[in-house]
Structures are given as C-alpha cells and as structure tokens.
Amino acid sequence: MTTLSTPARAVTERYEMVVGLEVHVQLRTRTKAFCCCDTAFGAPPNTNTCPICLALPGTLPLLNAEAVRLAVRAALALGCTVHETSIFARKNYFYPDLPKGYQISQYDRPLATGGRIAIGKNADGTPITIGITRLHMEEDAGKSIHDRYGGATAIDLNRAGVPLIEIVSEPDMRSAREAVAYLKVLKQILEYIDVSDVNMEEGSLRVDANISARLRGETRLGTKTEVKNMNSFSGVERALEAEFVRQCTLLERGEKIHQQTMLWDGARGEVRPARSKEESHDYRYFPEPDLPPLRLDRAWIEQIRAELPELPQARQARFAESYALPAGDIEVLTANAKLADYFESVARQHGDAKSAANWVMGEVLAALNATGQSVEHFAVRPADLAKLLDLVRDGVVSHSAAKQIFAHMAETGDPPQQIAEREGLIQVRDADELARWVDEVLAENPTEAARFKNGEKKLLGVLVGLVMKKSKGRADPRRVNQLLSERGG
C-alpha cells in the first residue's frame, strides 16, 4: 500500500477534488452474456455474431451461468451484499453499434450493493477506504470506427453482448492519485479472483469518472462533470488533474460548472466537452420483458464466497506475519497472485523466506521483465529455484555461480544440480586445490602480493577476486579469504 497525499497546486489549493468512478470490467467467459458467440479479442470483424447479438427479429436472450458466477465472485471480493433477486432492465439509446436499440443492464435492482475497499493509508496511518455503491451486470455494445472510411462509420459487433460488470464507487476519492490507487487495488483484486483480464489497452477494463470541485471545508457536493476516454491509469490521473484545474478556474471566476460529458485528449493533455448532445441520458429504463428476474440461492452465494481465494490485503498481512518481510518486499511479491504463489512455493521448499524473496524480486523478475514472460510459464519452476538456493546455503555452489546456473535454468529448464555439474560450477572446497589457486595468483601478481604481505589489507578483496576468476567462480570465497589472510602474515 502507498501513502497518499494531496497534490499541491497554487490555483487549486483552496479547492478539494471529489471523484467517483464507474468501472466497466469485461468478464472472462468463453461466450457472450446472452448468446453462444465467442468472446475472444481480435477476431475478424463481425465474425463472432449470431441472430441474437445482431438483434434479428424473433430472437430471445438466454443468460450465461458463468457470467453470473463471475459477477457474484467479484461482488463478494469487493465486500458487496449480493441480492437474491436482481432484475435486468433495458437501457434505451440510439447508436449504430447497439443493434437492439437498448442495452440489457440492471437498474433499480442491481446484483449487488454496498461494498468497500481499502486503497492505502493517510499520512497519519489511518486507512483510506472507498465505498462501492453498486455492482451490476450488463452487456457490452459493439465498436464504432469513425476514421477508417470516408463519409462512413464502420461497425464491428464482435463485442456486442460480451458480459460486463459495472462497478460504481461512492464519491469518496479526494485526489487524482487516490483515484488511481483505487483503480490499482480494484484491478489487483479482480486479477486475484481471476474474473477478468482487466486490460485497459484491450478495453477489458474501462473507466469513466465523475468529478466535482468544492471549497475546502464545504460539505455539499459541487456540480459534477463526467470524464471519459481515458485509456490508461496515467491518463486517468492527468485527465482528473486537468478537469479539476478547469473547474477551479471557472469557480474562481464566479462562473457555474455545467453538468456535461468531457472527453480526455491524451495527446493534447486537455479535456474538452463531448460534441454529442447528452440527451442520451434519457435512457427510459424499464424491466427487460425477455428476462425474468435473476434469483440466486443464498446457499449458492455462500458457496461462491467460500471458494474465493485469499485476497491481496489478507495475503499481504499474512506475508508480513509468516515471513517477517519488509513492506516494500511484500508489495512487490503480492503484486499479482501468481507471483505470490511462486514466491511462497520457493520459500516453503527452501526454508529461508528472505533469501527466496531476494531471488524472486531480483533474478526472477529481471528474467521475466527481459522476456515479457508470465511467471506461470517461466522455465525455472519453484521447486528448482528452491533447490538452487539449497545449493548456495549448503556451500555447494557460490552465489556468483548460482547466478550463472540460474541463467541456464531460465533457458533450458534443467535442474540446478545437473547444470552445476555440467558447467563445472560446483564449489571447490578441496584445500590443496584452493591453496594452489591462491599461490598461483600471488606468484602471477608479485607487486600486489608484496604490498599485501607488507600489510596493505585493502588488497585482500582484489586478490580474492583474482582467485575467484582463476577458479571460474568455483572457489569458496570464504575459504579463499582465509587462505589469503594466513599468507598476508
């Protein structure tokens, strides 16, 4: 968790930012919410469509059970109350990428309400928590591309009908950084429970923000605007800052804020009003006559709760307690569930958590970052890394040899012992051989040897290094140290 503070800016110091976020998350199902079409990203346009998601006359929606399960799982992980009865509603609006002329969503009886998540700590150590107003199920619209063909808008309906959850927060965030912290925690939780790819670039996580400004100390909310078109976490942060400055400037001049939709232009670093008229807010919701209410059994909901994995904050607390690791290590190791699993497996099998943590945060993450691999597919399995750490602890290989062995393991996936033998990296502790290397080094470097023998102790390190080099990393540096010190007189 990070410590958050309010950004200081001359023009905005007298004002407080108030932000609530609406996050759309694509659920990781194989098929769409109401038909059997594939949900895979990147298929040729309009190939994942059928009579239902093309809204051909006479078709009826049939709800995907897995979408319900994933939505309930997400709601429980966010601390929401899941309702035994929720109702689907038609949200009516006219747009060419919405073939039915309405989106199936939920309105006054959503799937879940009343959650809360912790996103960090204030400077005084008190937790910052953000309320979740509601979580409801809905279907996605298609995609409109306006700039590809002259005079025409191109429509791809592959995404139409893909299951989403919309997570609406309370207006509890007080800075752009808090908003980003909330999004990061939300994304991390959704990743841990494996309900979505939560990828902002591919659009499986989308964020709209409601933002208003008010004088510090004021308790009433100011007029809000909605900011859209933010495609990254940094985009969210910059867009909120820009809109806040715009609102503060207007308020300072005694002007009114108009409730409107603003679009973030990342290239220009500014927000501007959406050109489309916001009459579309007249959605004329009514209960979806094609779908009876969704009724869930309380026992089934509790079973989904029992199946939830350990969530990030619980895991962080447990890591602090069981492994006595510093907070910084814990943050890195629990960034995603797979990495945390990997670390725990190494730590359990090897026994020394701190050494396991150092290797996972150092060599393992460096190797993964270099190749872009994910930890589940990493060639070095936890059991083999644990064995390598055992070899270092037992003095069979030196630390520097272990790094070479690790590089081979990452390439071949071979076990460490085998690589150590094949590459001649088993540490030599044979007294005669070590003594021979030491004497050779002293003989080959007479000047340094003489100075060392005359009491220049700082040369010890240089000489140890030369012996290690001669031994190709196989000498036990502690023994070499000892032998040289004896000869130093």
């Binding site: 594939d38 309009n46 990428d97 009459e279």
Partner: protein, 105 residues
C-alpha cells in the same frame, strides 16, 4: 397523465425519427388514446397484488458457457445495407463529421 406535443417531439428525437410538424397533433392524439386505455386498466382492483417483473417465482433460465455459435440462415452481406472488410458501414455520424476522433469505447 397526458402526452404533450413536447413529449412527442422529444421521443421522436431520442428514436432518431424524422417527424414532420404536421404529423405531431395526430401522434399526440394517438398516444393519448393509448394512455386512456391505461386509465381503464387502472380501474382493476389490485389490492394485495405485488408488483412483478416476471411471471411466477422461477429465476431467469441459465445456459452453460459453451458454443457453438448459432449460425445465420443467410450471410451478413445478404441483410446488411453495406459492408466493407467485414465491417457494417453506416452513414458517418453527425457528431463525427470531421472524423478526427478516436474510436468510441
């Protein structure tokens, strides 16, 4: 609850229907006629009847998360007004006439 001419014009705009001025009075009358029937229904005694969004207590049925995709009886090209590179083409929206905007989310 009477429908006004403003209601009719507003609903037509939401539905993107071109509505000639001279047809407005006729539609106001027709919609008010339909609502008058609601007044008849309102006379039914519904004491003790709770509101409902469906018939009976059964949940909406669920389907397993599997294919296969339901095939189309006719290819998309057969009913789409215009297609190109697999996309359905529609007239460029008035809000995007200059087309310097990103793809919509």
């Amino acid at each position: 609850m009477a429908v006004t001419r403003e209601d009719v014009v507003h609903i037509a705009a939401l539905a993107r229907l071109a509505l000639p001025e001279e047809r407005v009075p006729e539609l106001v009358a027709q919609l008010n006629g339909i609502l008058a029937h609601m007044d008849v229904l309102r006379k039914v005694d519904t004491t003790g009847v709770t509101g409902t969004a469906g018939i009976g207590d059964a949940s909406t049925p669920l389907r397993p998360d599997t294919g296969p995709q339901i095939p189309l009886a006719r290819p998309r090209e057969a009913f789409a007004p215009q297609m190109r590179d697999g996309f359905f083409l529609v007239p460029r929206l008035a809000t995007h006439e200059t087309a310097d905007e990103e793809e919509t989310a």
